[in-house]
């Protein structure tokens, strides 16, 4: 059974709007009374993924689904793709612009934070776009006060 099924547009270079999808995801999880730790893991992974699209891509979208056993996040953008995924995932490596850095990004820790938060991580990238699929297992302890 699908308990939540939501979609979001992510606007490139709009630092004022950035984080709206993640905020809504967090709010949804809070309303569903998931545990604080689970909400933090999902929020951090969602925000890092959303920011990656804002600072690096030509725009994109996110899909957010919850079933009884899993939470799925899928981030899709319209390019230009990640030329070297292994390098992009190296802690501290960043190609963020000066503008992004002035906005507090470009630590090169995005993928590291995502990987630390998720139970499953899949990434596909070519010049037409990048698809990032994140899966979180929902255990008994993650349901703070029951669904």
């Amino acid at each position: 059974m699908i308990l939540v099924d939501k979609r979001y547009e992510i606007i490139p270079r709009d630092f004022n709007f950035a984080g709206q999808a993640s905020s809504d995801i967090k709010r949804t999880l809070k309303n569903m009374r998931f545990s604080r730790d689970f909400i933090k893991r999902v929020s951090v992974a969602a925000y890092e993924s959303e920011i990656n699209i804002v600072i690096h891509s030509l725009g994109g979208r996110a899909a957010f689904k919850i079933t009884e056993a899993k939470l799925y996040l899928e981030f899709t953008d319209y390019g230009p793709g990640i030329p070297d995924i292994a390098l992009a995932m190296t802690p501290g490596y960043s190609t963020a612009s000066e503008e992004s850095r002035l906005n507090g990004f470009g630590a090169g820790m995005g993928f590291t934070n995502i990987l630390k938060s998720v139970d499953r991580f899949d990434i596909l990238s070519d010049p037409n776009g990048t698809v990032l699929k994140l899966v979180f297992d929902i255990g008994e302890a993650d349901r703070d006060a029951g669904l």
Binding site: A18, G19, N103, G104, A107, M109, G110, T112, K116
Partner: protein
């Protein structure tokens, strides 16, 4: 500890008066938001020069009830509105981050 404890000479509350009642537990200082998300603990007050909407978004996502904006960084009206909506206190000071941490520690507020 409460945000109101921080507010002595040299610190100014930018958000609405009730935000001074926000409680916090401990400080975290940093500007790179990915590092803040990784290391700050829920309940920490964030000491930073990042006066932008992203700092508010991060504070909201990882449950940081207060942000101390250092080195004269000023909150924009957009930031104040968003912080008020999220229940986050914004404090402005001309002190450097390290001096804020030392000052609050000396006053037993770290």
């Amino acid at each position: 500890m409460r945000v109101s404890d921080i507010l002595s000479a040299g610190y100014r509350l930018a958000t609405r008066a009730e935000s001074a009642d926000r409680e916090y537990a401990g400080l975290y200082a940093g500007d790179l938001l990915s590092v803040v998300m990784k290391s700050a603990k829920p309940g920490n007050a964030l000491v930073t020069v990042m006066a932008n909407m992203n700092a508010i978004a991060v504070a909201s996502l990882v449950d940081l009830p207060a942000i101390v904006l250092c080195e004269g960084a000023r909150a924009t009206s957009e930031m104040i509105a968003r912080a008020d909506a999220e229940g986050i206190a914004l404090v402005e000071t001309s002190r450097k981050a390290v001096d804020v941490v030392i000052d609050l520690d000396r006053r037993g507020l770290s």
